[in-house]
Protein backbone atom coordinates (compact mmCIF):
# COMPACT_ATOMS: atom_id res chain seq x y z
CA UNK A 1 0.00 0.00 0.00
CA UNK A 2 2.79 2.35 0.92
CA UNK A 3 4.10 2.18 -2.63
CA UNK A 4 1.13 4.14 -3.85
CA UNK A 5 1.14 6.89 -1.23
CA UNK A 6 3.12 9.26 -3.40
CA UNK A 7 0.82 8.61 -6.35
CA UNK A 8 -2.24 9.35 -4.22
CA UNK A 9 -0.66 12.50 -2.85
CA UNK A 10 0.18 13.68 -6.35
CA UNK A 11 -3.31 12.99 -7.67
CA UNK A 12 -4.79 14.76 -4.66
CA UNK A 13 -2.58 17.78 -5.31
CA UNK A 14 -3.54 17.77 -8.98
CA UNK A 15 -7.27 17.47 -8.34
CA UNK A 16 -7.20 20.18 -5.68
CA UNK A 17 -5.26 22.57 -7.88
CA UNK A 18 -7.51 21.96 -10.87
CA UNK A 19 -10.60 22.37 -8.73
CA UNK A 20 -9.21 25.61 -7.35
CA UNK A 21 -8.47 26.83 -10.86
CA UNK A 22 -11.95 25.78 -12.02
CA UNK A 23 -13.56 27.63 -9.16
CA UNK A 24 -11.38 30.67 -9.81
CA UNK A 25 -9.84 30.60 -6.36
CA UNK A 26 -6.46 31.13 -7.91
CA UNK A 27 -6.08 33.76 -10.57
CA UNK A 28 -4.84 33.24 -14.11
CA UNK A 29 -1.34 34.45 -13.31
CA UNK A 30 -0.82 31.84 -10.61
CA UNK A 31 -2.35 29.19 -12.86
CA UNK A 32 0.17 29.99 -15.56
CA UNK A 33 3.02 29.83 -13.07
CA UNK A 34 1.82 26.42 -11.89
CA UNK A 35 1.71 25.21 -15.48
CA UNK A 36 5.19 26.61 -16.17
CA UNK A 37 6.48 24.79 -13.12
CA UNK A 38 5.06 21.62 -14.63
CA UNK A 39 6.70 22.27 -18.01
CA UNK A 40 10.01 23.04 -16.35
CA UNK A 41 9.81 19.83 -14.33
CA UNK A 42 9.40 17.83 -17.55
CA UNK A 43 12.23 19.71 -19.23
CA UNK A 44 14.69 19.46 -16.36
CA UNK A 45 14.03 15.81 -15.57
CA UNK A 46 14.29 14.83 -19.22
CA UNK A 47 17.53 16.76 -19.68
CA UNK A 48 18.84 15.21 -16.50
CA UNK A 49 18.50 11.84 -18.17
CA UNK A 50 21.10 12.83 -20.76
CA UNK A 51 23.23 15.32 -18.83
CA UNK A 52 23.05 13.75 -15.42
CA UNK A 53 22.55 10.03 -15.72
CA UNK A 54 24.34 9.56 -19.02
CA UNK A 55 26.97 12.22 -18.35
CA UNK A 56 26.78 13.85 -21.76
CA UNK A 57 26.60 17.60 -22.17
CA UNK A 58 23.56 18.48 -24.24
CA UNK A 59 23.11 22.21 -24.76
CA UNK A 60 20.27 22.15 -27.27
CA UNK A 61 17.27 20.94 -25.33
CA UNK A 62 15.15 23.89 -26.43
CA UNK A 63 15.40 22.68 -30.03
CA UNK A 64 13.52 19.48 -29.23
CA UNK A 65 10.99 21.51 -27.32
CA UNK A 66 10.48 23.63 -30.42
CA UNK A 67 9.86 20.57 -32.59
CA UNK A 68 7.24 19.27 -30.17
CA UNK A 69 5.60 22.66 -29.85
CA UNK A 70 5.32 23.14 -33.59
CA UNK A 71 4.23 19.59 -34.46
CA UNK A 72 1.51 19.56 -31.83
CA UNK A 73 0.26 23.04 -32.65
CA UNK A 74 0.25 22.53 -36.40
CA UNK A 75 -1.58 19.20 -36.09
CA UNK A 76 -4.15 20.71 -33.76
CA UNK A 77 -4.78 23.74 -35.92
CA UNK A 78 -4.90 21.60 -39.04
CA UNK A 79 -7.35 19.07 -37.64
CA UNK A 80 -9.59 21.02 -35.35
CA UNK A 81 -9.90 24.63 -36.50
CA UNK A 82 -10.75 26.58 -39.59
CA UNK A 83 -7.66 28.54 -40.47
CA UNK A 84 -6.63 30.44 -43.57
CA UNK A 85 -3.51 28.36 -43.91
CA UNK A 86 -4.78 24.82 -43.62
CA UNK A 87 -8.38 25.32 -44.72
CA UNK A 88 -11.40 24.09 -42.83
CA UNK A 89 -11.06 21.59 -40.06
CA UNK A 90 -10.75 17.92 -40.96
CA UNK A 91 -12.38 16.73 -37.77
CA UNK A 92 -15.01 18.40 -35.67
CA UNK A 93 -13.54 20.90 -33.20
CA UNK A 94 -15.14 18.99 -30.35
CA UNK A 95 -12.98 15.94 -30.99
CA UNK A 96 -9.99 18.00 -29.90
CA UNK A 97 -10.96 17.01 -26.39
CA UNK A 98 -10.18 13.35 -27.03
CA UNK A 99 -7.42 13.74 -29.57
CA UNK A 100 -5.35 16.36 -27.77
CA UNK A 101 -3.21 13.75 -25.97
CA UNK A 102 -2.67 12.04 -29.31
CA UNK A 103 -1.33 15.16 -30.97
CA UNK A 104 0.72 15.88 -27.86
CA UNK A 105 2.22 12.43 -28.14
CA UNK A 106 2.83 12.89 -31.86
CA UNK A 107 4.72 16.07 -31.03
CA UNK A 108 6.84 14.00 -28.67
CA UNK A 109 7.43 11.43 -31.39
CA UNK A 110 8.48 14.16 -33.79
CA UNK A 111 10.93 15.54 -31.27
CA UNK A 112 12.26 12.04 -30.59
CA UNK A 113 12.90 11.57 -34.29
CA UNK A 114 14.88 14.82 -34.35
CA UNK A 115 16.66 13.43 -31.30
CA UNK A 116 18.00 10.76 -33.64
CA UNK A 117 20.09 13.50 -35.25
CA UNK A 118 21.97 13.74 -31.96
CA UNK A 119 21.81 10.08 -31.03
CA UNK A 120 23.43 8.73 -34.19
CA UNK A 121 26.54 10.95 -34.09
CA UNK A 122 26.81 10.12 -30.39
CA UNK A 123 27.86 6.59 -31.29
CA UNK A 124 31.17 7.89 -32.51
CA UNK A 125 31.80 10.92 -30.42
CA UNK A 126 31.11 12.26 -26.98
CA UNK A 127 31.95 15.13 -24.67
CA UNK A 128 32.66 18.50 -26.21
CA UNK A 129 32.09 17.42 -29.78
CA UNK A 130 28.71 15.98 -28.94
CA UNK A 131 27.84 19.22 -27.15
CA UNK A 132 28.46 21.03 -30.41
CA UNK A 133 26.27 18.58 -32.27
CA UNK A 134 23.39 19.22 -29.88
CA UNK A 135 23.92 22.93 -30.31
CA UNK A 136 23.98 22.57 -34.08
CA UNK A 137 20.78 20.53 -34.05
CA UNK A 138 18.99 23.15 -32.01
CA UNK A 139 20.12 25.87 -34.41
CA UNK A 140 19.10 23.74 -37.39
CA UNK A 141 15.64 23.28 -35.91
CA UNK A 142 15.25 26.97 -35.18
CA UNK A 143 16.54 27.99 -38.57
CA UNK A 144 14.33 25.49 -40.42
CA UNK A 145 11.25 26.74 -38.63
CA UNK A 146 12.20 30.29 -39.52
CA UNK A 147 12.39 29.27 -43.17
CA UNK A 148 9.07 27.42 -43.43
CA UNK A 149 6.69 30.18 -44.34
CA UNK A 150 3.53 28.03 -44.08
CA UNK A 151 3.83 27.84 -40.32
CA UNK A 152 4.62 31.50 -39.98
CA UNK A 153 8.41 31.50 -40.27
CA UNK A 154 10.06 33.95 -37.92
CA UNK A 155 6.72 35.67 -37.27
CA UNK A 156 5.52 32.78 -35.19
CA UNK A 157 2.45 30.62 -35.13
CA UNK A 158 -0.77 31.20 -33.26
CA UNK A 159 -4.33 30.02 -32.89
CA UNK A 160 -3.80 27.42 -30.18
CA UNK A 161 -6.10 29.45 -27.97
CA UNK A 162 -9.03 28.29 -30.14
CA UNK A 163 -8.20 24.65 -29.43
CA UNK A 164 -8.13 25.30 -25.70
CA UNK A 165 -11.39 27.23 -25.94
CA UNK A 166 -13.13 24.51 -27.92
CA UNK A 167 -11.99 21.94 -25.36
CA UNK A 168 -13.33 24.12 -22.57
CA UNK A 169 -16.64 24.54 -24.35
CA UNK A 170 -17.14 20.81 -24.33
CA UNK A 171 -16.25 20.23 -20.71
CA UNK A 172 -15.55 23.25 -18.59
CA UNK A 173 -12.21 22.42 -17.07
CA UNK A 174 -8.79 24.08 -17.37
CA UNK A 175 -7.70 21.41 -19.83
CA UNK A 176 -4.13 22.50 -20.41
CA UNK A 177 -3.53 22.34 -16.69
CA UNK A 178 -5.10 18.89 -16.51
CA UNK A 179 -2.81 17.64 -19.25
CA UNK A 180 0.17 19.35 -17.68
CA UNK A 181 -0.47 17.54 -14.43
CA UNK A 182 -0.89 14.23 -16.22
CA UNK A 183 2.22 14.77 -18.36
CA UNK A 184 4.35 15.76 -15.37
CA UNK A 185 3.21 12.76 -13.38
CA UNK A 186 3.83 10.37 -16.25
CA UNK A 187 7.22 11.92 -17.06
CA UNK A 188 8.52 11.65 -13.54
CA UNK A 189 7.15 8.12 -13.27
CA UNK A 190 8.64 7.04 -16.59
CA UNK A 191 12.05 8.50 -15.85
CA UNK A 192 12.00 7.07 -12.34
CA UNK A 193 11.20 3.62 -13.68
CA UNK A 194 13.64 4.03 -16.53
CA UNK A 195 16.68 4.94 -14.44
CA UNK A 196 15.97 2.15 -12.02
CA UNK A 197 15.53 -0.37 -14.79
CA UNK A 198 18.28 -2.34 -16.44
CA UNK A 199 18.44 0.36 -19.13
CA UNK A 200 19.05 3.02 -16.52
CA UNK A 201 21.82 1.04 -14.93
CA UNK A 202 23.32 0.63 -18.37
CA UNK A 203 23.23 4.37 -18.92
CA UNK A 204 24.91 5.07 -15.59
CA UNK A 205 27.55 2.49 -16.50
CA UNK A 206 28.05 4.32 -19.80
CA UNK A 207 28.66 7.54 -17.90
CA UNK A 208 31.21 5.99 -15.63
CA UNK A 209 33.17 4.20 -18.33
CA UNK A 210 32.01 3.66 -21.85
CA UNK A 211 34.59 1.12 -22.95
CA UNK A 212 34.35 -0.93 -19.79
CA UNK A 213 30.58 -1.04 -20.00
CA UNK A 214 30.79 -2.18 -23.59
CA UNK A 215 33.10 -4.98 -22.54
CA UNK A 216 30.62 -5.97 -19.87
CA UNK A 217 28.12 -6.61 -22.62
CA UNK A 218 26.06 -3.43 -22.57
CA UNK A 219 24.67 -2.50 -25.96
CA UNK A 220 25.95 1.07 -25.86
CA UNK A 221 24.34 2.13 -29.12
CA UNK A 222 20.93 1.02 -27.99
CA UNK A 223 21.36 2.68 -24.59
CA UNK A 224 22.34 5.98 -26.18
CA UNK A 225 19.52 5.78 -28.70
CA UNK A 226 16.92 5.11 -26.00
CA UNK A 227 18.20 7.80 -23.67
CA UNK A 228 18.44 10.51 -26.32
CA UNK A 229 15.10 9.70 -27.89
CA UNK A 230 13.29 9.45 -24.57
CA UNK A 231 14.80 12.70 -23.40
CA UNK A 232 14.04 14.61 -26.58
CA UNK A 233 10.57 13.10 -26.86
CA UNK A 234 9.66 14.26 -23.38
CA UNK A 235 11.01 17.70 -24.20
CA UNK A 236 8.73 17.67 -27.24
CA UNK A 237 5.72 16.95 -25.07
CA UNK A 238 6.72 19.81 -22.81
CA UNK A 239 6.94 21.99 -25.90
CA UNK A 240 3.43 21.01 -27.01
CA UNK A 241 2.01 21.94 -23.64
CA UNK A 242 4.03 25.15 -23.59
CA UNK A 243 2.53 26.18 -26.95
CA UNK A 244 -0.99 25.65 -25.64
CA UNK A 245 -0.37 27.56 -22.44
CA UNK A 246 0.82 30.62 -24.29
CA UNK A 247 -1.34 30.23 -27.39
CA UNK A 248 1.50 31.67 -29.47
CA UNK A 249 4.94 30.39 -30.34
CA UNK A 250 7.78 31.77 -32.39
CA UNK A 251 11.23 30.39 -33.10
CA UNK A 252 12.78 33.17 -31.04
CA UNK A 253 11.43 31.52 -27.88
CA UNK A 254 13.50 28.39 -28.33
CA UNK A 255 16.98 29.85 -28.36
CA UNK A 256 20.13 29.03 -26.53
CA UNK A 257 18.80 31.14 -23.64
CA UNK A 258 15.96 28.68 -23.14
CA UNK A 259 18.41 25.78 -23.28
CA UNK A 260 20.57 27.55 -20.73
CA UNK A 261 17.59 27.97 -18.44
CA UNK A 262 16.98 24.22 -18.56
CA UNK A 263 20.67 23.53 -17.97
CA UNK A 264 20.59 25.80 -14.94
CA UNK A 265 17.67 23.85 -13.54
CA UNK A 266 19.44 20.54 -14.01
CA UNK A 267 22.66 21.65 -12.36
CA UNK A 268 20.89 23.54 -9.62
CA UNK A 269 19.09 20.35 -8.68
CA UNK A 270 22.09 18.17 -9.08
CA UNK A 271 23.06 15.77 -11.80
CA UNK A 272 21.61 12.33 -11.66
CA UNK A 273 19.00 13.27 -9.10
CA UNK A 274 15.38 13.05 -10.15
CA UNK A 275 13.92 14.66 -7.05
CA UNK A 276 16.61 17.31 -7.29
CA UNK A 277 15.48 18.20 -10.79
CA UNK A 278 11.86 18.42 -9.72
CA UNK A 279 12.77 20.55 -6.74
CA UNK A 280 15.03 22.87 -8.69
CA UNK A 281 12.44 23.30 -11.45
CA UNK A 282 9.98 24.51 -8.82
CA UNK A 283 12.51 26.73 -7.05
CA UNK A 284 13.90 28.15 -10.27
CA UNK A 285 10.52 28.97 -11.79
CA UNK A 286 9.46 30.72 -8.61
CA UNK A 287 12.78 32.58 -8.46
CA UNK A 288 12.29 33.75 -12.04
CA UNK A 289 8.89 35.12 -11.12
CA UNK A 290 10.21 36.75 -7.96
CA UNK A 291 12.96 38.43 -9.93
CA UNK A 292 10.61 39.56 -12.68
CA UNK A 293 10.38 43.13 -11.31
CA UNK A 294 14.17 43.34 -11.60
CA UNK A 295 13.85 43.02 -15.40
CA UNK A 296 17.30 43.03 -16.97
CA UNK A 297 19.07 42.58 -13.68
CA UNK A 298 17.27 39.25 -13.36
CA UNK A 299 19.61 37.74 -15.89
CA UNK A 300 22.57 39.11 -13.96
CA UNK A 301 21.42 37.68 -10.67
CA UNK A 302 20.63 34.20 -11.99
CA UNK A 303 24.04 33.49 -13.54
CA UNK A 304 25.68 34.95 -10.47
CA UNK A 305 23.68 32.60 -8.24
CA UNK A 306 24.73 29.67 -10.35
CA UNK A 307 28.40 30.67 -10.35
CA UNK A 308 28.31 30.90 -6.56
CA UNK A 309 26.55 27.55 -6.45
CA UNK A 310 29.25 25.99 -8.60
CA UNK A 311 31.92 27.42 -6.31
CA UNK A 312 30.49 26.39 -3.00
CA UNK A 313 28.31 23.43 -3.83
CA UNK A 314 29.20 22.23 -7.30
CA UNK A 315 27.18 19.05 -7.07
CA UNK A 316 23.95 21.06 -6.97
CA UNK A 317 21.26 20.90 -4.32
CA UNK A 318 21.19 17.12 -4.39
CA UNK A 319 24.05 15.72 -6.40
CA UNK A 320 23.51 12.06 -7.29
CA UNK A 321 21.21 11.71 -4.32
CA UNK A 322 17.47 11.67 -3.99
CA UNK A 323 15.35 13.60 -1.56
CA UNK A 324 14.68 10.41 0.34
CA UNK A 325 18.40 10.00 0.99
CA UNK A 326 18.61 13.41 2.60
CA UNK A 327 15.44 13.06 4.61
CA UNK A 328 15.13 9.33 5.32
CA UNK A 329 11.72 9.82 6.87
CA UNK A 330 10.38 10.76 3.45
CA UNK A 331 10.82 7.21 2.28
CA UNK A 332 7.84 6.35 4.45
CA UNK A 333 5.71 8.35 2.06
CA UNK A 334 7.61 7.55 -1.07
CA UNK A 335 8.22 3.94 -1.76
CA UNK A 336 11.46 2.32 -0.57
CA UNK A 337 12.15 1.73 -4.26
CA UNK A 338 12.93 5.40 -4.72
CA UNK A 339 16.12 5.02 -2.82
CA UNK A 340 19.11 4.66 -5.00
CA UNK A 341 22.68 3.68 -4.56
Amino acid sequence: MRRFTSVFLYILLGVLTIAAARANWINAYIQIIIMFIGINIILSTSLNLVNGYMGEFSVGHAGFMAVGAYVTSVLNIWFFTNSQVFGSSLLSPSSALYLFPVTLLLGGVGAALVGLLVAIPSFRTRGDYLAIITLAVSYIVKSSIENIQVIGGARGFMGMRNIVNSMQEMVNLPWVMVWTFIAVGLTVWIIHRFVNSIHGKGIVALRDDEIASEIMGIDTHRMKLTAFMLSSGLAGIAGGLFAHILGYINPGTFTIMKSTEILVMVYLGGMGSLSGSVLSAIVFTLLLELFRPLQVVKWVVIPLLLILLMMFRPEGLLGHRELSDVFPRLSRIFSPRERQA
Binding site: I132, K142, M310
Partner: protein, 310 residues
Protein backbone atom coordinates in the same frame (compact mmCIF):
# COMPACT_ATOMS: atom_id res chain seq x y z
CA UNK B 1 32.03 38.36 -64.75
CA UNK B 2 31.78 35.02 -62.98
CA UNK B 3 35.39 35.20 -61.84
CA UNK B 4 34.96 38.72 -60.57
CA UNK B 5 32.06 37.62 -58.45
CA UNK B 6 33.98 34.62 -57.25
CA UNK B 7 36.99 36.68 -56.23
CA UNK B 8 34.73 39.26 -54.62
CA UNK B 9 33.02 36.60 -52.55
CA UNK B 10 36.35 35.01 -51.75
CA UNK B 11 37.57 38.29 -50.31
CA UNK B 12 34.38 38.75 -48.32
CA UNK B 13 34.69 35.20 -47.03
CA UNK B 14 38.30 35.78 -46.01
CA UNK B 15 37.29 38.85 -44.03
CA UNK B 16 34.28 37.19 -42.42
CA UNK B 17 36.32 34.09 -41.68
CA UNK B 18 39.05 36.22 -40.12
CA UNK B 19 36.77 37.22 -37.27
CA UNK B 20 35.82 33.63 -36.65
CA UNK B 21 39.46 32.61 -36.82
CA UNK B 22 40.60 35.30 -34.37
CA UNK B 23 37.95 34.35 -31.82
CA UNK B 24 38.43 30.64 -32.43
CA UNK B 25 42.11 31.08 -31.59
CA UNK B 26 41.09 32.09 -28.08
CA UNK B 27 38.84 29.06 -27.65
CA UNK B 28 41.47 26.73 -28.93
CA UNK B 29 44.33 28.16 -26.85
CA UNK B 30 42.40 27.79 -23.62
CA UNK B 31 41.12 24.37 -24.60
CA UNK B 32 44.57 23.22 -25.59
CA UNK B 33 45.95 24.06 -22.16
CA UNK B 34 43.06 23.47 -19.78
CA UNK B 35 40.74 21.17 -21.75
CA UNK B 36 38.11 23.75 -20.83
CA UNK B 37 35.64 25.22 -23.27
CA UNK B 38 35.65 28.84 -22.25
CA UNK B 39 32.08 29.62 -23.25
CA UNK B 40 32.49 33.18 -22.02
CA UNK B 41 34.94 33.85 -24.83
CA UNK B 42 32.33 35.14 -27.29
CA UNK B 43 31.28 37.67 -24.70
CA UNK B 44 34.88 38.65 -24.05
CA UNK B 45 34.88 39.55 -27.74
CA UNK B 46 31.81 41.71 -27.09
CA UNK B 47 33.45 43.30 -24.05
CA UNK B 48 36.51 43.91 -26.20
CA UNK B 49 34.59 45.88 -28.76
CA UNK B 50 32.82 47.89 -26.07
CA UNK B 51 36.11 48.71 -24.38
CA UNK B 52 37.44 49.62 -27.82
CA UNK B 53 34.48 51.94 -28.27
CA UNK B 54 35.12 53.77 -25.02
CA UNK B 55 38.86 53.99 -25.56
CA UNK B 56 38.42 55.27 -29.11
CA UNK B 57 35.86 57.90 -28.16
CA UNK B 58 38.11 59.01 -25.30
CA UNK B 59 41.13 59.28 -27.55
CA UNK B 60 39.18 61.11 -30.21
CA UNK B 61 38.29 63.68 -27.57
CA UNK B 62 34.56 63.10 -27.62
CA UNK B 63 34.38 63.48 -23.85
CA UNK B 64 34.95 67.18 -23.31
CA UNK B 65 38.12 68.15 -21.54
CA UNK B 66 39.44 64.66 -20.90
CA UNK B 67 41.73 64.65 -23.94
CA UNK B 68 43.76 67.82 -24.20
CA UNK B 69 45.77 67.02 -27.32
CA UNK B 70 44.56 66.11 -30.76
CA UNK B 71 46.19 62.86 -31.87
CA UNK B 72 46.86 61.81 -35.45
CA UNK B 73 44.45 59.10 -36.71
CA UNK B 74 47.02 56.34 -37.06
CA UNK B 75 48.21 56.83 -33.50
CA UNK B 76 44.62 56.80 -32.27
CA UNK B 77 44.00 53.51 -34.03
CA UNK B 78 47.14 51.84 -32.71
CA UNK B 79 46.62 53.18 -29.19
CA UNK B 80 43.00 52.00 -29.24
CA UNK B 81 44.07 48.53 -30.26
CA UNK B 82 46.82 48.40 -27.67
CA UNK B 83 44.84 49.73 -24.71
CA UNK B 84 41.80 47.63 -25.59
CA UNK B 85 43.87 44.48 -25.79
CA UNK B 86 45.42 45.13 -22.38
CA UNK B 87 42.10 45.97 -20.72
CA UNK B 88 40.29 43.01 -22.25
CA UNK B 89 43.10 40.70 -21.27
CA UNK B 90 42.48 42.03 -17.77
CA UNK B 91 38.84 40.99 -18.02
CA UNK B 92 39.80 37.53 -19.21
CA UNK B 93 42.33 37.06 -16.45
CA UNK B 94 39.82 38.29 -13.88
CA UNK B 95 37.37 35.62 -15.03
CA UNK B 96 40.11 33.04 -14.69
CA UNK B 97 41.11 34.19 -11.23
CA UNK B 98 37.64 34.69 -9.82
CA UNK B 99 35.65 31.92 -11.44
CA UNK B 100 37.79 29.18 -12.92
CA UNK B 101 40.79 28.95 -10.64
CA UNK B 102 38.92 28.25 -7.39
CA UNK B 103 37.11 25.42 -9.15
CA UNK B 104 40.35 24.07 -10.55
CA UNK B 105 41.98 24.21 -7.14
CA UNK B 106 39.11 22.20 -5.71
CA UNK B 107 39.56 19.66 -8.46
CA UNK B 108 35.95 20.05 -9.52
CA UNK B 109 34.71 18.10 -12.49
CA UNK B 110 35.31 19.74 -15.85
CA UNK B 111 31.60 19.99 -16.40
CA UNK B 112 31.15 22.39 -13.49
CA UNK B 113 33.81 24.65 -14.93
CA UNK B 114 32.00 24.60 -18.29
CA UNK B 115 28.73 25.61 -16.61
CA UNK B 116 30.54 28.38 -14.78
CA UNK B 117 31.96 29.57 -18.09
CA UNK B 118 28.50 29.60 -19.67
CA UNK B 119 27.17 31.60 -16.75
CA UNK B 120 30.09 34.04 -16.86
CA UNK B 121 29.19 34.67 -20.49
CA UNK B 122 25.57 35.38 -19.59
CA UNK B 123 26.76 37.57 -16.75
CA UNK B 124 28.91 39.68 -19.07
CA UNK B 125 26.13 39.98 -21.64
CA UNK B 126 23.39 40.93 -19.25
CA UNK B 127 25.64 42.92 -16.97
CA UNK B 128 26.47 45.03 -19.97
CA UNK B 129 22.81 45.31 -20.85
CA UNK B 130 21.94 46.38 -17.32
CA UNK B 131 24.82 48.85 -17.05
CA UNK B 132 24.83 50.47 -20.46
CA UNK B 133 21.27 49.93 -21.62
CA UNK B 134 19.93 48.29 -24.72
CA UNK B 135 20.56 51.12 -27.16
CA UNK B 136 23.04 50.33 -29.86
CA UNK B 137 26.20 52.33 -30.13
CA UNK B 138 27.98 53.20 -33.30
CA UNK B 139 31.70 52.85 -33.34
CA UNK B 140 33.56 56.01 -34.38
CA UNK B 141 35.45 55.95 -37.64
CA UNK B 142 39.10 55.70 -36.72
CA UNK B 143 40.45 56.17 -40.22
CA UNK B 144 38.84 56.91 -43.53
CA UNK B 145 37.71 53.90 -45.48
CA UNK B 146 39.15 53.84 -48.96
CA UNK B 147 37.59 51.60 -51.54
CA UNK B 148 39.80 50.29 -54.31
CA UNK B 149 38.55 48.69 -57.49
CA UNK B 150 40.86 46.41 -59.42
CA UNK B 151 39.42 44.62 -62.42
CA UNK B 152 35.86 44.90 -61.19
CA UNK B 153 36.68 43.58 -57.72
CA UNK B 154 36.13 46.12 -55.00
CA UNK B 155 37.75 45.97 -51.61
CA UNK B 156 38.41 48.43 -48.84
CA UNK B 157 41.55 48.99 -46.82
CA UNK B 158 39.70 47.72 -43.75
CA UNK B 159 39.14 44.36 -45.41
CA UNK B 160 42.82 44.01 -46.27
CA UNK B 161 43.81 45.11 -42.77
CA UNK B 162 41.57 42.46 -41.18
CA UNK B 163 42.85 39.63 -43.34
CA UNK B 164 46.52 40.54 -42.95
CA UNK B 165 46.17 41.01 -39.19
CA UNK B 166 44.62 37.59 -38.82
CA UNK B 167 47.40 35.89 -40.71
CA UNK B 168 50.06 37.81 -38.76
CA UNK B 169 48.42 36.88 -35.47
CA UNK B 170 48.33 33.26 -36.53
CA UNK B 171 52.03 33.28 -37.37
CA UNK B 172 52.81 35.01 -34.08
CA UNK B 173 50.82 32.52 -32.01
CA UNK B 174 52.22 29.56 -33.86
CA UNK B 175 55.73 30.88 -33.13
CA UNK B 176 54.94 31.45 -29.48
CA UNK B 177 53.52 28.00 -29.00
CA UNK B 178 56.14 26.14 -31.05
CA UNK B 179 59.32 28.08 -30.46
CA UNK B 180 59.30 29.76 -27.06
CA UNK B 181 59.74 28.36 -23.60
CA UNK B 182 56.33 29.43 -22.38
CA UNK B 183 54.78 27.84 -25.45
CA UNK B 184 56.54 24.64 -24.60
CA UNK B 185 55.10 24.88 -21.10
CA UNK B 186 51.63 25.35 -22.58
CA UNK B 187 51.97 22.25 -24.68
CA UNK B 188 53.36 20.35 -21.73
CA UNK B 189 50.35 21.22 -19.56
CA UNK B 190 47.94 19.94 -22.14
CA UNK B 191 50.02 16.79 -22.44
CA UNK B 192 50.22 15.92 -18.77
CA UNK B 193 48.85 18.27 -16.15
CA UNK B 194 50.04 16.21 -13.22
CA UNK B 195 53.69 15.99 -14.20
CA UNK B 196 54.21 19.61 -15.20
CA UNK B 197 54.30 21.17 -11.70
CA UNK B 198 56.78 18.48 -10.69
CA UNK B 199 59.14 19.83 -13.33
CA UNK B 200 59.05 23.21 -11.65
CA UNK B 201 56.83 24.92 -14.18
CA UNK B 202 54.53 27.52 -12.59
CA UNK B 203 51.26 26.17 -13.92
CA UNK B 204 49.10 29.14 -12.89
CA UNK B 205 51.39 31.64 -14.61
CA UNK B 206 51.18 29.68 -17.83
CA UNK B 207 47.40 29.49 -17.59
CA UNK B 208 47.14 33.23 -16.96
CA UNK B 209 49.40 33.81 -19.94
CA UNK B 210 47.10 31.67 -22.07
CA UNK B 211 44.10 33.69 -20.98
CA UNK B 212 45.96 36.92 -21.75
CA UNK B 213 46.75 35.68 -25.25
CA UNK B 214 43.21 34.45 -25.91
CA UNK B 215 41.46 37.52 -24.55
CA UNK B 216 43.68 39.97 -26.34
CA UNK B 217 43.00 38.14 -29.60
CA UNK B 218 39.29 38.47 -28.85
CA UNK B 219 39.81 42.18 -28.19
CA UNK B 220 41.63 42.51 -31.50
CA UNK B 221 38.75 40.77 -33.24
CA UNK B 222 36.32 43.02 -31.36
CA UNK B 223 37.95 46.26 -32.46
CA UNK B 224 38.39 45.08 -36.05
CA UNK B 225 34.80 43.86 -36.14
CA UNK B 226 33.58 47.18 -34.78
CA UNK B 227 35.57 49.04 -37.44
CA UNK B 228 34.10 46.87 -40.21
CA UNK B 229 30.53 46.76 -38.89
CA UNK B 230 30.25 49.77 -36.60
CA UNK B 231 27.18 48.78 -34.57
CA UNK B 232 27.64 47.55 -31.01
CA UNK B 233 25.03 45.73 -28.96
CA UNK B 234 25.33 43.53 -25.85
CA UNK B 235 24.33 40.32 -27.62
CA UNK B 236 26.72 40.71 -30.54
CA UNK B 237 29.14 38.25 -28.99
CA UNK B 238 26.66 35.43 -28.51
CA UNK B 239 26.08 34.18 -32.03
CA UNK B 240 29.52 35.13 -33.34
CA UNK B 241 31.06 33.45 -30.31
CA UNK B 242 29.12 30.22 -30.80
CA UNK B 243 30.04 30.18 -34.47
CA UNK B 244 33.69 30.81 -33.71
CA UNK B 245 33.52 27.91 -31.31
CA UNK B 246 32.11 25.80 -34.12
CA UNK B 247 35.00 26.96 -36.29
CA UNK B 248 37.42 25.85 -33.58
CA UNK B 249 35.77 22.44 -33.34
CA UNK B 250 35.63 22.09 -37.11
CA UNK B 251 39.37 22.63 -37.31
CA UNK B 252 40.02 20.35 -34.37
CA UNK B 253 39.91 22.12 -31.03
CA UNK B 254 43.24 22.57 -29.32
CA UNK B 255 45.07 23.07 -32.62
CA UNK B 256 46.06 26.59 -33.63
CA UNK B 257 46.15 25.70 -37.32
CA UNK B 258 42.71 24.20 -36.85
CA UNK B 259 41.26 27.47 -35.57
CA UNK B 260 42.55 29.37 -38.59
CA UNK B 261 41.42 26.80 -41.14
CA UNK B 262 38.09 26.23 -39.38
CA UNK B 263 37.42 29.95 -39.18
CA UNK B 264 38.09 30.52 -42.85
CA UNK B 265 36.13 27.42 -43.81
CA UNK B 266 33.08 28.57 -41.88
CA UNK B 267 33.46 32.01 -43.42
CA UNK B 268 33.51 30.50 -46.91
CA UNK B 269 30.49 28.31 -46.26
CA UNK B 270 28.48 31.21 -44.88
CA UNK B 271 29.38 33.74 -47.56
CA UNK B 272 28.86 31.34 -50.45
CA UNK B 273 25.57 30.13 -49.03
CA UNK B 274 24.44 33.73 -48.65
CA UNK B 275 25.58 34.47 -52.19
CA UNK B 276 23.75 31.61 -53.87
CA UNK B 277 20.74 30.90 -51.64
CA UNK B 278 18.32 33.16 -49.78
CA UNK B 279 20.34 34.57 -46.90
CA UNK B 280 17.87 33.28 -44.31
CA UNK B 281 19.21 29.82 -45.05
CA UNK B 282 22.72 30.82 -43.98
CA UNK B 283 22.62 29.50 -40.43
CA UNK B 284 20.71 26.41 -41.47
CA UNK B 285 23.24 25.34 -44.08
CA UNK B 286 26.26 26.33 -42.02
CA UNK B 287 25.11 24.23 -39.09
CA UNK B 288 24.06 21.33 -41.32
CA UNK B 289 27.53 21.26 -42.86
CA UNK B 290 28.95 21.13 -39.37
CA UNK B 291 26.62 18.33 -38.34
CA UNK B 292 27.43 16.21 -41.37
CA UNK B 293 31.13 16.89 -41.07
CA UNK B 294 31.28 15.99 -37.39
CA UNK B 295 29.27 12.83 -38.00
CA UNK B 296 31.97 11.57 -40.33
CA UNK B 297 35.06 13.03 -38.71
CA UNK B 298 34.22 13.63 -35.07
CA UNK B 299 37.59 15.12 -34.12
CA UNK B 300 37.68 17.92 -36.66
CA UNK B 301 40.21 18.51 -39.41
CA UNK B 302 43.46 18.52 -37.45
CA UNK B 303 42.23 16.98 -34.23
CA UNK B 304 43.52 13.65 -33.06
CA UNK B 305 41.42 11.31 -31.00
CA UNK B 306 42.70 11.03 -27.47
CA UNK B 307 43.47 7.50 -26.51
CA UNK B 308 41.11 6.23 -23.85
CA UNK B 309 42.36 3.80 -21.29
CA UNK B 310 40.31 1.51 -19.17
Amino acid sequence: MFYQELIQNLLNALQWGSFYALIALGYTLVYGVLLLINFAHGDIFMVGSYIGFFVATLLLGQYAGLMPVHLPPLLVFLLTLFITMILTAGVGVTLERVAYRPLRRKGASRLYVVITALMCGLLLENGNLALLGANRRSFPELFTKTVYTIGGVTFSNVKILVIITTILVFVLLETIVRKTKIGMAMRAISYDRMAVPLMGIPIDTVIVFTFILGSSMAALAGVLFAISYPVLEPYMGALVGWKAFIAAVLGGIGEIRGALVGGFLLGFVEIFVAASFPSTLRDLIAFSVLLIFLSFKPTGIFGVARATKI
